[in-house]
Symmetry: C2
């Protein structure tokens, strides 16, 4: 059994073309060629934290994967990253553990950013400005992974904390992005036709009347029942609502709130993999409003973990 | 983060008095002082295998634990143990991984045998002969962990395979047990007032008319929907039916079959921790028939993993 550490993993990821692999994962998922049980969850009150266990396998491939990822929101104060985690690869044939990827949740961040990039590529029209809600790690990575998707380098960011917006601006400049500040989420929606919401908000930051025609929103901040970034009426006025996993979005994220409030029916939701394999239609006209809700699916973890480990094996033959 | 391997873990376990700790775990569970989500499960068809993810924590203790244990039943043919697995300890305060116990499912075997010993101690009357169904690892460990519970060293074993019974006899003789063979599960039931069933049978091996007054049965082989060792009518004629976890036994094991067939009602089942803490009554008279159904609860994993790791820390101060 091999143990890979963060630095090694990061170096391996740099050399990999992960977008096609994550796409394949979504397709396998939507085509029923994967086994992905409901997300395991542990919650802690004091200090507050939540742990997600995502696991499963693509049928007839080599490994099954168990991913543990947590967010403990007071860690910052202790100088420890909020996100913690690891991915475990086991042989489908024997159950033997093949590798432990001690990635400190890095691979979760990467596969989440890649899902965002896939959505922007499929659903955004020519990007005039990238709108970002939030100033955390995904606010950075979602933008970084757009580099190959759009030539746009203009970002309009909104965050609750001005100091964090300033740090964000400085950091993103190093990556070649020009970041302007916004005084409200509404301003972001007015100025950008691609909006990525990356916060842990439990109150909607945007409502239907804020959204201009032609906008695509990727909502990736909410992955629990309590978190919500978009008013449910946004789903109502959208021409296309995409779920990374319909089964998961029934239970968590923006679509969960939309279904609960009756703003959307389940049969109106399209799964990402079904658009990727061509069996369902994506955006049709430039003035449509589209929303993709990303809750994070185990197939992403399965694909990225297997790719990193296989690449490690290749380079150590 | 520390990684402990099988040999180290085995040596640490030898020095630990685990019975009181496992008892405490069951009590915390039955008193609602633990968080134990439903068992995560992955099944494989070809080759056949099942993976269980058991996880949770005791409130206000140091760690939360995720345990992965699998059984791939063709591994034997490849010279690989059927059971595979590990236990992961994470800090409740930050989510950081503190230790990985690469125990190859050994700790699962130990905590399962200990649960059996706890039940024998509580529910068996003076043991005339230990009856064992099955010749595998638990058929050995359940008996070995009875050494401090009963002076009885007489075992009557039944297994489908005569050769395996012979190996079992030889192996157990080294531990001081005199093993006789039985031609059927019924013969075991006739000759023993303590019966431990440890098989992966999907057909009942015993029915109600086989069981003599004063018998205690610990059924630990069935931990899925499909496995069943006892006819559901045994639960009907029993004076006391004990579940390690009522919530889990609703979904799997002997009690699941008993509830489904109407042989027993849920309000007739008593949880092990509730007898251990004195809030419920155990065996009352020597002629009662008692059955305990062990599906394996995450609190056992939590307690044994924490104990092993703390003992490691102590000895490496």
């Amino acid at each position: 059994m091999k143990i890979l550490y963060y630095k090694e993993i990061k170096a391996l990821v740099k050399e990999l073309d992960l977008i096609p692999l994550i796409k394949e994962g979504f397709i396998a998922y939507s085509e029923g060629r994967s086994v992905v049980p409901p997300v395991g969850e542990l919650n802690f009150d004091d200090p507050p934290g939540d742990v997600h266990i995502k696991y499963g396998y693509i049928i007839a491939e080599e490994f099954y994967v168990i991913k543990i990822a947590s967010g403990f929101f007071n860690n910052d104060k202790l100088g420890i990253p909020n996100g913690q985690g690891m991915m475990l690869l086991f042989k489908q044939e024997t159950g033997q553990c093949e590798a432990i990827l001690l990635d400190d949740a890095y691979l979760t961040d990467v596969r989440t950013a890649i899902a965002g990039a896939i959505c922007a590529d499929l659903f955004a029209i020519e990007v005039n400005c990238i709108g970002i809600l939030g100033t955390g790690l995904q606010a950075r990575m979602q933008v970084q992974y757009l580099k190959d998707i759009t030539p746009c380098r203009q970002v309009l960011v909104w965050g609750r904390n001005t100091e964090k917006m300033e740090i964000y601006q400085t950091d993103m400049a190093k990556d070649g992005f020009k970041v302007d500040f916004s005084s409200s989420p509404q301003d972001v929606a007015k100025g950008c036709n691609l909006i990525i919401s990356t916060t842990a908000s439990s109150e909607p930051l945007l409502t239907g009347r804020d959204i201009l025609p032609g906008t695509h929103i990727t909502a990736m901040g909410s992955d629990t029942i309590t978190k919500q970034e978009l008013g449910a009426d946004i789903l109502k006025i959208s021409d296309l609502v995409i779920a990374d996993s319909i089964a998961q979005c029934r239970e968590r994220g923006e679509i969960f709130h939309g279904l609960k409030s009756g703003s959307i029916r389940e049969d109106e939701i399209v799964e990402l993999g079904s658009i990727l394999n061509g069996s369902k239609t994506g955006r049709v006209t430039a003035d449509q409003i589209t929303v993709s809700d990303l809750t994070g699916v185990a197939v992403q973890d399965i694909q990225i973990a297997a790719a990193v480990y296989k690449s490690y094996e290749e380079s150590n033959k």
